[in-house]
Subunit: 299 residues, 2 copies
């Protein structure tokens, strides 16, 4: 994957936002730090990097950025990718409004792509926003239900990754259903790994505070496993639920969760294996490598 | 216009939101009070009320509701259509997230309509959200610039009305450009009248606090005219800018603005006349009546 293509995608996005002709919008957009562009890399591993494919990448990245702009307001996060978030730099209003501009720009561009692609992507945004609601709902009390957690991450995280993979296959005339399944399994594994890293990595590596999920009342997979390990664990989690932990408490909790973290990693590997098998069935080595890199990453 | 058709449109919207399968989303959505459905009435005055037309109406109403959900968070409004707003009933998070679900559901359905319709509607949402940003920007200091105000209401209010009119014409195979122009002029007149009513009507009639615009730092057309009438007026407005006014101050300000209110009404009539002329050119009496009713309304 050449860095130049990723830069081209960012330039397409910049061009789209420039069309609003509003300097405040443009300058705020320029302050958003580019992420790892995982979804673009996924698309480029499936479809020929022509104009249509690059447009799809730009649309997906705009949607991803829009959802993060709204997430940061909802989760009251002030740090994103090691930089102050837009809601921290400006205010919640700005972040909501810029998110709406990004969403609508993405949807407008989507109307130029084939109908099946437009349907796949827009449907995934319904899932994504419903998933965000479920995420907030689950955090209202201590959630120890595995199925609810898996449903939520499928909606909130995996659906857009699945739609990216499916849309790339649609553009390339490949088996879109198998590519959707690949993306869904990759996405679920991706989110479980993210939730593990939130516990095991430090603030500098994460680009945001560590153990942020639990502080926000979000009991991700390792916590759910830990909760069910013993009654004492359940009581410990309940006593710490949605509280701000100091670094000693964090260290102790992390230590005692070793087994649950391993168990969570194993479930991520199960989903990753499903994705790998699909990648092999689809004869796409790049998709195989994406799964490997995703599992092995430490941020 | 039969009430039954408007009820059918609301039922289509309910059905779309039910597809999320999330009870929290569905119950919040059911709490949103239906408005006057001006945009649906406009569409039904142009296009045959078949399945496609009703779907378009539902999409436009969902977009309108989504934008109000986000507006109420941005403007910190707690009252909407004489009822507590979703951000007041729940919280800002809920209002942002429900807005995103409504937007994405509308965009997903839009992919089933003809491409030209999808483009017109999605483009208007870029305008609408850019207009919201401009609205907030202008309210940061006392705006006395007429052009900025007109640009802002064109983006924030008129563009979706213009897209509704244009899309209905596209479905019916009529002159879509003329219908767009009609909707744009109607929309600008509509918003000026709204801004006048914000000053002249009481809270009960408005369904929200009176003189709310000025309290929020929004100098709408009557204030801009008043500002330029004399240096004393300019100083008065500057001294009251973005402050909470008591009922006596409101009454006095309203009284002294009589001339500016009349002048604003006259500009609304100019735009309304342009719309009326287009309605006559298009030989559509219903569109003529819509302009009249819109101008004569008192809420």
């Amino acid at each position: 994957m050449s860095e130049k293509i990723l830069q081209d995608i960012n330039n397409i996005s910049k061009h789209l936002i420039h069309k609003t002709n509003n300097n405040f919008i443009i300058s705020m957009f320029n302050l958003i730090k580019s992420g790892k562009m995982l979804r673009s890399k996924l698309i480029l591993s499936i479809a020929t990097p022509n104009e249509e494919t690059l447009k799809l990448c730009s649309i997906i990245e705009l949607i991803q950025s829009a959802s993060l702009l709204h997430d940061d307001v909802i989760d009251e996060s002030t740090l994103r990718r090691n930089a102050p978030s837009i809601n921290a730099l400006f205010d919640n209003k700005a972040s909501i409004m810029l998110g709406d501009v990004l969403y609508s720009s993405a949807f407008y561009e989507l109307t130029s792509l084939p109908e099946a692609v437009a349907k796949s992507v827009s449907k995934s945004v319904i899932s994504l926003s419903s998933g965000e609601i479920l995420d907030v709902e689950l955090a209202k009390s201590l959630n120890s239900n595995l199925e609810s957690y898996l449903k939520m991450i499928e909606l909130k995280s995996a659906s857009l990754i699945a739609a990216s993979s499916e849309s790339a296959a649609l553009l390339e005339g490949l088996d879109h259903k198998a590519h959707y399944e690949y993306g869904l399994n990759l996405g679920i594994a991706f989110q479980i790994i993210d939730d593990i890293l939130d516990i095991t990595q430090d603030e500098k590596t994460l680009g945001k505070p560590s153990m942020n999920d639990f502080t926000q009342g979000k009991t991700t997979l390792p916590y759910i496993y830990f909760y069910h390990e013993s009654e004492a664990n359940a009581k410990l989690l309940e006593s710490l639920f949605a509280k701000k932990l100091d670094s000693l408490q964090k260290e102790m909790l992390k230590k005692s969760m070793e087994k649950s973290l391993l168990k969570a990693k194993n479930l991520a590997l199960e989903y990753a294996n499903k994705a790998t098998n699909l990648a092999r069935k689809l004869n796409n080595e790049k998709l195989d490598s994406i799964v490997k890199a995703m599992i092995e990453r430490d941020f």
